[in-house]
């Protein structure tokens, strides 16, 4: 399946939970928040949310701002 992470398309072998995906992408321990298809996903839902073909993920973290 193909998913889009922060605007870049990536090929993934199988459907998996958001928690597994965050781990595999190397975000473990980073201070992040996630939106899936423009909807906020609370941290408590990472384990239960299943990623599907065509999903768009935004993975963000703190940044300087005015």
């Amino acid at each position: 399946m193909i998913i889009e992470i922060n605007g870049e398309k990536k090929e993934w072998e199988k459907t998996r939970s958001l928690a597994e995906m965050i781990h595999d992408l190397g975000y473990e321990g980073a201070r992040i928040a996630v939106a899936r298809n423009d909807e906020f996903v609370p941290r408590s839902d990472y384990a239960t949310v299943q990623i599907r073909d065509g999903d768009r993920l935004e993975i963000v973290s703190p940044m300087q701002g005015g």
Partner: protein
Amino acid sequence: MTDPTLPMWPIGGRQLRSRLLLGTARYPSLAVLQQAIAASGAEVVTVSLRRESATERAGTHFWSAIKEMGVQVLPNTAGCKTVKEAVTTAEMGREIFETPWLKLEVIGDDYTLQPHPFLLVEAAEELCRRGFQVFPYTTEDMVVAERLVQAGCSILMPWGAPIGSGQGLNNPYALRTLRARYPDVSLIVDAGIGKPSHAIAAMEMGYDGVLVNTAVARAADPVRMARAFGLAVESGRLAYLAGAMPVQEMAEPSTPVTGTPFWHQS
């Protein structure tokens, strides 16, 4: 630095000493940013969200630097152009920064970065319903202000001038009118401040606070300028509380005239 006679500032459910809010963007380095925050005396800093790379983790480093300062953060929705983007960004910010405080920005024009009045009101309604403490970045427009207050905002942040322009208070009449019309709403001038004198002018009008970023970050010496703004905001607040003298059309001698040497009846 803070004058002991100045009462605490109740804002968004907190009690603060400094009425200066400082942006964290565009500094030469994280170290300079930290020194500028300390020098300014600001207890609130604005922060944002950006896409994070798993390898670089720039955001995680930035967050550590801010946490070291022990300041309250005010997450923004910079760059959002729709209600949906603003609401999703706000929710992500609330989780990451662990605060219901939110500087709501919904931009309606790319050239002036003017807030979009209709979408701003719509987003504010939704975010107030969701329990956010909304600090809406708005224009000086009175009717938009009224709609934001109706939406549940107890704080308004009218612009002084376009973001990053340093022009100061472009419409002092409208800002004064807003102050007079909403004596119980916390009013903070956000955007366009270029010099400490602009911040003093806003505070002398009775504004509750001033939010500054570029004027400090892009000064030749940001740390010294941060201190200048901290003093300016405090000075302006003291002046407002003290009450300025009325302006006179003609001169009035300040030195008492009685007993002036060489005086003759003419």
